[in-house]
């Protein structure tokens, strides 16, 4: 049961490995960015889920609620999401430039074009 109770971590690990696999195995540069996104998202979930307290509510002071979830990781991960968006934007911008320069976004074709120089 303990294993099942930690299901959020299993999701994190699954997402992380899936994202990592996409980054490594795909040769399409856009797909790599997608994989990278997935990879980052898994960490967001790690942060968010670890701060959840069983039965806790959002941390707003109110009569009748004594247990609150930890808000700090949520705030942290907002920052991390912003960073992730920036990374994705930059990555995609680079892909656009690469497409302009090489006329392709496939890694092996780019490699061939550089080799043939």
């Amino acid at each position: 049961m303990q294993w099942l109770g930690l299901y959020n971590y299993w999701i994190v690990i699954f997402l992380m490995m899936a994202g990592f696999y996409v980054v490594i195995s795909r040769s399409n540069l856009v797909k790599k960015i997608v994989g990278l996104n997935l990879f980052q998202t898994s960490v967001f979930i790690l942060y968010i889920s670890m701060s959840k307290v069983q039965g806790g509510t959002a941390p707003i002071l109110k009569e009748g609620f004594a247990v609150y979830s930890n808000p700090l990781p949520h705030v942290l991960i907002l920052t991390a999401i912003v960073v992730g968006v920036a990374t994705t934007a930059l990555g995609l911008a680079l892909v656009v430039r690469i497409k302009e320069a090489y006329g392709t976004v496939e890694e092996d074709e780019i490699h061939n074009k550089d080799e043939s120089l």
């Binding site: 991390a80 990374t87 990555g91």
Partner: protein, 492 residues
């Protein structure tokens, strides 16, 4: 009044100059601004180092929020020294940029270059100065994202793919660091490094903390290009504009090394890192492999920038080697080499920038006989190269001395032998350049002019530092030794 806020200003000055650059939107003005910002940063860094050396540590609460909750900027001999290195290299590289950037970066991108440079500088300084683990991640991403952009500004289209490759690797590394920080937070409920250091021992035996250490080490190792995670580095260095290469080679990997030191020694503590987790058993072989494999690869490169890039991987190996001894002398050697390598690689990449300015190429075959045509540039390359080899009267020798001493003190005489053999490989790749440049006839159409003074002066400033700190080591050895004692002593 201002003196109180120096730690904040250290980061804020370059950080705020960046959008200002963009607003003013004139390349010349942007250059002036970023040069001024770098110099101001250097002045602040030197003042801070002085304070730290006088008083021990310096703590600054950002926005007035008290330490474990608010973000704390915390200075000790280790990061105060790193600040000086980063700001110092920035201040030397910027004057060089004025001429070099006009030549190497397209007109519409120049303002953008200065903006990203300032962001990168702010990020690197921030990593060094902050005492908060999550803040460190944010600064790391600021510096990384801006360095991806700077690399992509190279004229060669391969700069784009190099930058892309670095972006993928760098993001994975940064995410690993994020995971590590998250796991630590899970176990301790704090992000302040000092707080972490106090709370970790009580939970040191948990698997979570150990996994956190592993994630952090791997993540940082990607950033500092530790063999075999160095694959992004050669391309990034080769295709980036000369200024960018010089700046990044001398600072970015150094700051990453600082992160490693900070986490291994301060946050986790030497006891956990090296006794329970036996990190030295991982780092030592990897460092030696880095030294040998990268040096051998460097020997076979015909592109001088690529040769130096591989040499950087090897030199990072030396730094990590020093750290892996986990003794005062060893860490002193590591920190010394951190400083010294910044000086030599900065100088060498700037000198290559001079070559590229006149030649438009840094291929070995194109520099034949240029030793006589561009005597100052090539003299700089020779001296920088000698420093890389570790010849006496240069900084490289001082690093080697301490490395060998640390290895012998640790009873690892075979490591000492390997360190020295590694220097001989450096002789091999440096001497190829010397022979071609000085003892081969120049082709007829070779340029006959020396590089302009605006490029030579910054280069020689760093070369001068290479020699000066090779003879008078009072400052460098003194600070490195104090920093090492600080780290080994747990850095309370």
């Amino acid at each position: 009044m201002i003196a109180q806020h120096l730690p904040a200003l250290q980061v804020v000055v370059p950080l705020l100059s960046a959008p200002l650059c963009l607003l003013l939107n004139r390349a010349r003005v942007a250059w002036l601004l970023s040069t001024a910002a770098s110099w101001v940063a250097l002045v602040i860094a030197v003042l801070l180092l002085q304070q730290v050396l006088a008083t021990g540590t310096l703590s600054y609460e950002l926005g007035g929020w008290a330490a474990p909750w608010g973000i704390e900027y915390r200075l000790d001999p280790v990061n105060a020294f790193v600040l000086v290195i980063v700001a110092g290299i920035g201040s030397v590289v910027m004057p060089f940029a004025a001429t070099s950037v006009v030549h190497e970066i397209a007109a519409e991108h120049r303002v953008l270059f200065y903006t990203t440079y300032l962001l990168c500088l702010a990020g690197l300084l921030g990593i060094a100065i902050t005492g908060d683990a999550f803040n460190l991640f944010v600064f790391l991403e600021i510096s990384s994202l801006s360095s991806y952009i700077m690399i992509s500004l190279g004229r060669d289209r391969r700069a784009l793919t190099a930058s892309y490759q670095y972006l993928i690797m760098g993001t994975i590394g940064a995410t690993f660091i994020l995971i590590g920080v998250g796991l630590l937070y899970m176990m301790t409920g704090t992000l302040n490094m000092l707080d972490l250091a106090q709370r970790i021992p009580s939970v040191a035996d948990t698997r979570t903390v150990r996994v956190a250490l592993a994630f952090l080490t791997v993540g940082i190792s990607i950033k500092l290009a530790l063999f075999p995670l160095h694959l992004w580095l050669p391309n990034a260095y080769v295709y980036a504009p000369s200024v960018v290469t010089a700046f990044l080679a001398a600072t970015a990997t150094k700051v990453a090394v600082y992160m490693l030191l900070r986490f291994l020694f301060t946050v986790f503590g030497a006891e956990l890192s090296f006794e329970a987790m036996v990190m030295h058993l991982v780092l030592l072989p990897l460092a030696l492999l880095a030294v040998f494999s990268a040096s051998v690869v460097a020997i076979y490169q015909d592109n001088l920038k690529r040769m130096l890039a591989y040499s950087s991987v090897a030199q990072i190996g030396y730094i990590i080697l020093g750290i892996s001894f986990a003794s005062v002398t060893g860490v002193t050697a590591g920190i010394l080499h951190l400083f010294n390598h910044a000086l030599m690689k900065g100088a060498l990449f700037l000198a290559l920038g001079c070559v590229f300015y006149r030649l438009g190429s840094v291929q070995l075959r194109d520099i034949a006989g240029l030793g006589r045509r561009m005597p100052w540039t090539f003299a700089a390359i020779v001296i920088g190269g000698l420093s890389l080899i570790g010849v006496p009267l240069t900084v490289g020798f001082i690093s080697k001395w301490y490395l060998v001493l640390a290895a012998l003190e640790g009873g690892l005489w075979w490591v000492a032998v390997l360190v020295l053999l590694g220097s001989l490989l450096a002789v091999a790749y440096i001497w190829r350049v010397v022979e071609v440049a000085f003892f081969q006839p120049a082709p007829r159409n070779a340029p006959s002019q020396e590089a302009p003074l605006t490029l030579l002066l910054p280069t020689w400033a760093l070369i001068g530092a290479n020699v000066y700190f090779g003879i008078n080591t009072e400052l460098t050895v003194g600070v490195a030794h104090r920093a090492a004692e600080w780290l080994i002593g747990g850095g309370g």
